[in-house]
Amino acid sequence: MTLKNLIRGTDLATRRSFVSGMAGSLLGVGAAATFGPRALAQVLLQDPQPAAQTGPLVLGRATAKHVIYCFMRGGMTHIDTFDPKPGKITQGPTEALSTRADGVQIGQYFPKLAEHMNKVCIVSSMSSKQGAHPQAQYLMRTSYELRGTIQHPSLGAWCHHLGGRHNQTLPGHVILGGGADLPGAGFFPPEFQPLPIGSAEDGLQNASLPRGVDEERFQRRLQKLQQLDQAFGEQHGQRAVQSYSKTYAEAVKLMRSSDLTAFDLDLESAAMHQAYGQTGFGAGCLLARRLVEHGVRYVEVVSDGWDTHADNFDRVGELAPAIDQGLAALLADLDARGLLEQTMVVLATEFGRTPDIDQDQGRNHYPQAFSCLLAGGGVKGGQRYGSTDAEGRTVVSEPTSIQDLNATIAHACGIPTDHVVTSPSGRPFKVADKGTPITEILRG
């Protein structure tokens, strides 16, 4: 239910419901609610002390100012996509395709992306031990294992928190196309929660004044809010409370900013929409490009449905074209705008799928070997890093952990991978746990 409907249809148009709806849409504060009451309570009950940092933070020289992180949710098959094994029994009906990068082949479902593989580094030697979706997605996004006692921040929240925002008006971290349930700010203050946008095509909701509220009335409401908050804030000087107020203020700033147009896909030409493909993922990529143009640091685009237990080949054939089109357009468009050099584009998934094809023509969970893509932001393209054996069963060279991949992204963003941040509960954490950046695939 949008806020406008809420206000129009009932008498509930109170100041608080309006502003909180707006803040929720604009800056993702409301997303806390999607984690359920327990998580919300955890956020609110946290120690008033901000997470303490040990040692001064000296950012490295960043080759990537921005990250566009495409997450293939459900576990993307590696053999049918970016680690083909032509002629082997495990390949099934999928054919391998030569690409613009010498000696780099990919699955047949990505003919358009094949034309841009000179910009991409395939990391074929990903491996983990976690084969269950929630746990593996959590590990992929946070570098830590899912625990009942703590919520770890996602890589995007780390980059946002330690690296800061390039554009102080827009959110530092946006997640498109679902995924609001995935880990976000974790134990960082709530202001580092990513802004979730369900549908990229609809853009940002609740960003204009509701009907019947003019600027003057809106000002009065904000003043009233401030008056009420002041007493409460003085009594309860908690970090979470301050963070919330800060978020409201930022939402109002954004409403009045010319940067608000960053969220409006209608400003793109029909030809541009077509180039990205009129799919949810394509629109996500197009919006991600707009946000990066306006200085947003970290944008995630989620594509769901890769859990192909049955009819793997038909399903991949249905899922892949949107990714092929969207990603090819994104790489080409960023490159031509001079943004690819400073924007790292990542395609990641939580695990691979079994080399053996089962009786349902399906492939099942397989964390032992899988592939991710890195491009732009200082990544040397046109190569494959690491490899699996002839049938795609095990990693045989350059084993790369999830932490190593995340460390590589963080390192490119200038985030020191050895910088320790202490959680409110007093435990030390690093951006990619014990991961080591793959510096060979980055330019110095």
């Binding site: 000296v58 950012l59 010498d102 949810g280 490159d335 510096t439 110095g444």
Partner: protein
């Protein structure tokens, strides 16, 4: 494919520094390193002759530039510490390997001088005994004297010289040749340009930088504590016009990256920009700058990356930019630049990549992948 590094040692020892840079310099016949510097007043420590042999003998088995090993697997440097090139030693992600004149802040010295039973001591226990005291002293003395490498640049420079003739095609507008894996146009410079430009540059006083705290500009170090600056204005680009840009004059000497995308600057702003001698990258995407302004950027001789996407730039400016011999990337999509001017510029600056079109994919086939159709043409 490179030959396994260790087997090359005897050859590299003699040949690398010579091949890399100074063909006319006499070859060092044998390492003089083990000889301790007997008194502090002796001649300055020579890295190539005295320090490198120590590193070569005791360190680079684990700390050499990633290269394919005898088993075909790429051998990564341990801990990301690379000691076989000047670049590696001066720019480690691990921290400051050498801090000039401060051996106690230099990881290279502190890690070899730790007690033998310390976990962080180098070389590690399983690899052997600590370096003899005279070698430690020599390294300490070398750092105290400023840690100069002389003409030595090490392995990397040598490799790059070999790799240099790789493709440098400027790709734009449907140039669909196969690209060599992992190639990068123009990487022959021996050190990153920002490293060279920041040498001897004093950081600006904090008070000067503080004056920008409430303005529309975000002024930050380039990273790793560099005195060079990156200046951006995202989020407040509406407030940045030619007048606002003039406020950068006091820090002009330190600006290496300037991001003015979508701001209100116009041709007059380019005069301010032209007074930034260390500018490596300028982003004028989607601003009102045109020919007369952009032509003035030719004064910034260090410029590598120039983004003019969506501006009114035309062929006149392109001719002027032909004088930027360090140019690597020039973006002129959606400008008034003609194809002829692009060709001319590529001839003038052969290493430059000039992008004037986007290789966008064809629209999706009808119904492919459940594409949702919207406003069709």
């Amino acid at each position: 494919m490179r030959i396994p590094f260790l087997s090359l040692l005897p050859f590299l020892l003699v040949a690398t520094p010579v091949l890399a840079q100074t063909p006319d310099k006499p070859v060092a016949d044998k390492p003089v390193a083990e000889k301790p510097a007997k008194d502090g007043k002796a001649a300055a420590v020579d890295f190539e002759k005295q320090i490198w042999p120590i590193l070569e003998k005791s360190c680079i088995e684990c700390h050499s530039t990633a290269a394919p090993g005898p088993d075909g697997k790429t051998k990564k440097p341990k801990g990301g510490v690379v000691l076989d090139s000047k670049d590696g030693i001066t720019t480690s992600k691990k921290g400051k390997l050498i801090a000039a004149k401060k051996p106690d802040d230099s990881l290279l010295f502190t890690s070899i001088s730790l007690p033998a039973d310390d976990d962080d001591r180098m070389p590690p226990k399983k690899k052997g005994a600590p370096l003899p005291q005279d070698q430690q002293d020599l390294i300490k003395k070398w750092i105290e004297e400023g840690g100069s490498f002389g003409s030595w640049t090490g392995k990397k420079a040598d490799d790059k010289a070999k790799d240099a003739p790789k493709g440098k095609e400027a790709e734009a507008g449907g140039d669909k040749g196969k690209d060599k894996p992992a190639d990068k146009p123009k990487e022959k410079e021996k050190e990153a340009p920002h490293v060279r430009l920041q040498k001897g540059l004093q950081p600006l006083p904090a008070a000067t930088l503080a004056t920008f705290a409430n303005g529309p500009f975000l002024v930050q170090s380039l990273g790793d504590g560099s005195p060079l600056l990156r200046v951006g204005c995202a989020g407040r680009s509406d407030e940045v016009d030619d007048t606002a840009l003039r406020t950068l004059a006091p820090i002009a000497s330190h600006v290496a990256e300037l991001e003015l995308a979508r701001s209100r600057v116009s041709d007059a702003a380019c005069e301010t920009i032209a007074a930034m001698p260390r500018l490596l990258r300028v982003d004028l995407r989607q601003t009102q700058v045109g020919d007369t302004g952009v032509a003035k950027l030719a004064a910034c001789k260090e410029l590598r990356d120039v983004n003019l996407f969506g501006t009114k730039t035309g062929d006149y400016a392109m001719a002027a930019l032909g004088g930027l011999k360090a140019l690597q990337n020039l973006y002129v999509w959606q400008t008034e630049v003609s194809a002829g001017a692009v060709v001319r510029l590529r001839e003038q600056v052969p290493g430059a990549r000039v992008v004037f079109a986007a290789e966008l994919p064809e629209p999706m086939a009808e119904g492919a992948g459940g594409a949702r159709r919207r406003a069709q043409k």
